[in-house]
Symmetry: C3
Subunit: 156 residues, 3 copies
Amino acid sequence: MRQHLHRIEVATRGRGLVEVTAPILGWVAAQGIATGLLTVWCRHTSASLLVQENADPDVRADLEAFFRHLVPDGGGERYRHAAEGPDDMPAHLRAALTQTQLSIPVAQGRPVLGTWQGIHLFEHRTAPHRRELVLHLIGEAADAARNLVQPFDVRA
Amino acid sequence: MRQHLHRIEVATRGRGLVEVTAPILGWVAAQGIATGLLTVWCRHTSASLLVQENADPDVRADLEAFFRHLVPDGGGERYRHAAEGPDDMPAHLRAALTQTQLSIPVAQGRPVLGTWQGIHLFEHRTAPHRRELVLHLIGEAADAARNLVQPFDVRA
Amino acid sequence: MRQHLHRIEVATRGRGLVEVTAPILGWVAAQGIATGLLTVWCRHTSASLLVQENADPDVRADLEAFFRHLVPDGGGERYRHAAEGPDDMPAHLRAALTQTQLSIPVAQGRPVLGTWQGIHLFEHRTAPHRRELVLHLIGEAADAARNLVQPFDVRA
């Protein structure tokens, strides 16, 4: 059993989703782990992680619009914590509603993302920021995925 | 230290929660791991995972009603991504607000779920779907849970 | 590779955030693991976990106010599950919107929390409760964090 650690820096352009699937999959592939567990940690409280469809850019636009509506911007009339700008407290709230961390099983050398799943950094501040993700991988070179060909069913 | 992988297929009846605690606990029990970490990954962007009370079906009905209100259905007048039906973009939003993944410590051969905690697949589409969960378990046969009898307190 | 398990009890004063960063970091430091993965599991369906800014108490007050507005209290006129009080079903909904679990990479003996990140137990019931967290740590004494000094960039 081995472990690997890595850090990714992501330059955002302000509010919205930045897909980070490719660099994460690339790093995992380079570690020589066939079976394991990948963890992605976002080191911020005003940016977060989101697994979403990566095929249609309209999904990303709708996601951003939904969160902008759900968590209104505002200064001191709306929030106590207003000194860092009208988008700062909303950024904390949006982060609270999404994920700071993801752990994805690795089988046959690859995180088991579904066909449409992409990993995104969700920037919640309006200004561009540099964000930092830490990757942790634990596992082994041997392939333990034989069980995967024998699913069983759960009926609703 | 050993690892095990498995896949569960879940047939849903449309929107709502399907409890998957029993098959997950059954699979863990069969692997002979006393101490470890179980990860459940949902391979979809329009279905997700939720840990909730499994005793009262009214909780599940209220949960479904709350999310239906929070994330309104709609076509092109509301969402850009509307070609796949008025429930598709809402499904992505509901998944974004809940979990794609859960990792649960295993002690004395059993995930440490609380008394009232059940693991549920949360179907967000109105039509029935077949959904896929991947299970990953890492751990060992030896019992490392002796510390659990010595809790310490944190006062608010 | 080794594993450690622990349990923390948290006494809450009713609705709001209780920071638990210090006892968690203290326990990790005492295990002698340089590189690994820490998992925190909350054993409840009416309390949850949240990573948020720990510098400004106003952030915590705004967080509590936001969730109180997003998930209204109410009895039978609003929720089917109303027998346990007007704050019980809202507590389940607030837990559904936040986290039951966090897994944090450990590097050089310390969870890789960002500068402003604190781990909080989020109590959703109005009455004080005793809550239970389970901690799981897997890793090894050897330092595998050398890669961390070589980040690479992702441009939006």
